[in-house]
């Protein structure tokens, strides 16, 4: 199949059996690849009510038809599973070199199932595929294990690895790759840990065949040319995602002290230019990326290296914890990466604990004597270690903010900032209704990247609650995740503003299948509905309540900054949902209506919910 690796690899960790089968043509036609493959395989293969950390759950890695090709940013891999953090759908995207390497080994998806009796790692060398003993790596951090495996096999082998967080089944554990790239959200690392799979090592030497090589070469070069001519290229290369830190702080969207505010008065010390000057060593791109947002850094204070911090990490481990030194944030970032836990969820849950401490809901008697004041860097470092190792007070926090606040109670649920159990990423949404709706309805919980709309809020009026705003969110949710389906990065479209139509001839020349963006958005809509059905199937109590945001954004007006005194009215929150459900063709509880599913040919899946 042109544009594809051509096979799906199935690894049963219980029996040690490894099977490869041709990638089904119908699957490629209906779901294209990446996230689409993941969603379909998850829904059809993982049995209803499977324990996310049990043998029945699966961890599904998928490349897309653009992965590994001469297309800007064609280095995105999707990790799909049933989330141990949310008990719903999890899909986490990983950049770097893993997805391209897997394609060169002739593989489109890898499905891990079962549980290995002992720690193992998977070694893929083209068609030679083995499970090998990982006892010597178990218990070690991600950076040293990746280095050991590269030293053993070669620099051009690509490695994905979990840290102690994944081994200890922290439900927001990450999968790490390329010394600082993560599949971070939803606990994909915990699922890998539950399977006793320490690492995946890949080396591929095969060519990826395309339908029309000359057409592909031309379309690929046209895409690169557009990126290189883009006005936004140079600043984006300079600062990457940290380009938005200053803007967010100035408009009151930078999460500060557990999202109590959207403005951090000491925030200037965290801005992109400060970081660039103080710690950045080199720019670090994912496969085929002309606009590398990755910044590899070295701190003087700690004498350590880290990729990042990215904006989201600066928000959650910096301002959200009252930390204003970029070197401290970088070190917290490094600890999370090496221990293998998500920086966003970690910053979210520590921020919540600090607010509990400030309010006297938690005291040092509860926190192993640790002083949880905002800005206390040493405490943050210690909590990161204790969370990853599920040690002492860290054990409570390691459950995520929803469960931890459920245990502690005393009103702390009201400032537990999450949706569906996933800690909110780095946009304070007291008065940004499109972004708020984006978080409420995101398919994995409170994550930003499906429909990033914070700048749109500012453009059209941040408190507006109108159908057009809702339509924009739905369009973004159908469209943006298609990059995860195709296996490439969305940021060339988002940040360099290149014409999305430039992808169309490339996709056709690669796969031989002609598709328009409208066709692709229909696939996006179908996947969105399928993953909704997964939530409903796995959680019989699923209802409208699950789509509500943290009460923080409709009850607690920020004390300072540009959004001081501003919140979204609760009735507007409900109105947003009403409009969203109506436009999606879902009922008042957020359940897709039969006619909606029929239109998308998903009615067969509805039966199994």
């Amino acid at each position: 199949m042109n544009g594809y690796g051509g096979s799906i690899l199935r690894v049963d960790l219980s029996s040690g059996e490894i099977n490869k089968s041709p990638t089904p043509r119908d699957l490629a036609k209906e779901y294209i690849g990446g996230r689409g493959f993941g969603a379909y395989l998850l829904f059809s293969e993982v049995p209803k009510f499977a324990d996310p950390l049990g043998p029945e759950n699966k961890l599904i890695l998928s490349t897309g038809p653009l992965s590994g090709l001469m297309i800007p940013g064609a280095g995105k891999m999707d990790f799909t599973t049933k989330s141990p953090l949310t008990n719903g759908y999890a899909s986490s995207s990983l950049g770097g070199m893993l997805t391209s390497e897997l394609k060169y080994a002739g593989i489109d998806s890898v499905i891990f199932e079962g549980i290995s009796p002992d720690p193992v790692y998977l070694l893929i060398e083209d068609d030679r595929i083995q499970l090998l003993d990982a006892t010597e790596y178990w218990g070690h951090g991600t950076i040293s294990v990746e280095k050991s495996l590269k030293d053993k096999y070669g620099e051009d082998y690509q490695v994905a690895v979990i840290g102690p967080g994944g081994e200890n089944l922290v439900p927001f554990a990450s999968i790490n790759h390329d010394y600082g790239r993560q599949a971070g959200r939803g606990g994909v690392g915990a699922v890998m840990g539950s399977k006793k799979l320490k690492a995946i090592v890949v080396h591929g030497t095969k060519a990826i065949h395309v339908a029309d090589p000359e057409g592909y070469r031309k379309a690929g070069l046209d895409l690169f040319k557009a990126c290189k001519q883009a006005e936004g290229l140079v600043p984006w290369q300079q600062y990457g995602t940290t380009i938005v830190t200053s803007w967010c702080n100035e408009v009151g969207a930078l999460p500060t002290r557990n999202f109590i505010s959207g403005h951090f008065s000491e925030g200037k010390e965290l801005y992109g230019p400060v970081m660039r000057e103080k710690i950045v060593v080199t720019d670090k791109g994912c496969f085929g990326c002309p606009s590398p947002c990755g910044k590899y850094s070295r701190t003087k204070k700690y004498q350590s290296n880290v990729e990042g911090p990215e904006y989201e990490t600066i928000g959650l481990l910096g301002s959200n914890l009252g930390i204003s030194d970029i070197e401290d944030v970088a070190e917290a970032n490094r600890l999370c990466d090496d221990l293998g836990i998500d920086t966003i969820s970690t910053g979210g849950v520590i921020g919540w604990a600090m607010e509990c401490y400030q309010k006297g809901i938690l005291t040092s008697a509860d926190t192993d004597g640790l002083v949880l004041n905002f800005g206390n860097t040493d405490t943050v470092f210690e909590l990161i270690r204790r969370i990853a190792n599920k040690q002492g007070f860290g054990k409570l926090l390691s459950q995520g903010v929803k469960k931890a606040s459920g245990i502690i109670g005393n009103g702390s649920e009201k400032f537990a900032v999450h949706v569906k159990g996933m800690e909110q990423s780095a946009y304070a949404t007291h008065n940004a209704t499109a972004m708020l709706l984006a978080y409420m309805t995101c398919d994995v919980g409170a994550h930003h990247n499906r429909s990033w709309a914070i700048t749109y809020d500012l453009q059209v009026g941040r408190d507006l609650v109108v159908p057009e705003k809702v339509a924009r969110i739905i369009w973004l949710q159908n469209f943006r995740p298609m990059f995860d389906v195709l296996g490439s990065c969305r940021l060339q479209w988002v940040e360099l503003s290149i014409e999305r139509d430039l992808y169309i001839p490339a996709l056709e020349a690669i796969t031989g299948v002609s598709r328009t963006w409208e066709d692709l958005e229909r696939v996006g809509e179908k996947i969105w509905n399928l993953t909704r059905l997964f939530w409903i199937r796995e959680n019989p109590e699923f209802s409208r309540e699950w789509d509500l945001p943290s009460p923080r954004f409709y009850t607690d007006p920020p004390p300072d900054g540009p959004t001081a005194g501003q919140i979204t009215k609760y009735e507007d929150v409900q109105k947003l949902l009403d409009m969203y459900y109506e436009q999606r063709g879902w009922d008042s509880n957020g359940i897709p209506k039969p006619e909606t599913l029929k239109r998308m040919k998903l009615d067969e899946f509805a039966l199994s919910t």
Binding site: G68, M70, I208, D283, C286, N305
Partner: protein
């Protein structure tokens, strides 16, 4: 004319490698590229790229004269005339003369097609007949 690299600008993305293999072999396969990327991670956290300087040492030792020169000065391998003797590989001062029987039945090298430069978003690669400062 030759290819130049400014290592401090390289972000290690490998777009150049896939563009190279596509132009040289008509294949998407960075393992068949004519540049070598050396990532130095986790420490010091930099990239080094090895590129052909078109010095001609390879052509000088080729027993079948399979390595020929274009008008722009670039040396290239006439694939059909290569006998896989490997004489060219050890004499390359930059380590960018390639031969791997599993991948291709010919030696290969940079023919200065320029596609790597076209896809390099950070301008780490350039073609010039001037020495860079």
């Amino acid at each position: 004319m030759r290819l130049f690299v400014e290592n401090e600008k390289c972000s290690g993305c490998r777009a150049c490698l896939v563009a190279c293999s596509m132009n040289l072999f008509g294949e998407n396969n960075p393992k068949k590229a004519s540049l070598t990327l050396i990532p130095l991670f986790p420490d010091p956290g930099k990239f080094r790229m090895m590129v052909c300087t078109q010095c001609g040492e390879c052509a000088a030792v080729c027993p079948t004269d399979a390595i020929k020169q274009k008008p722009n000065g670039a040396f290239f391998v006439e694939f059909a005339e290569c006998i896989l003797c490997e004489a060219c590989v050890p004499v390359c001062p930059e380590g960018v003369m390639y031969l791997d029987n599993h991948l291709a039945q010919t030696a290969w090298k940079c023919d200065l097609c320029g596609d790597c430069v076209a896809v390099c978003g950070t301008s780490a690669l350039s073609i010039s007949d001037q020495l860079l400062n």
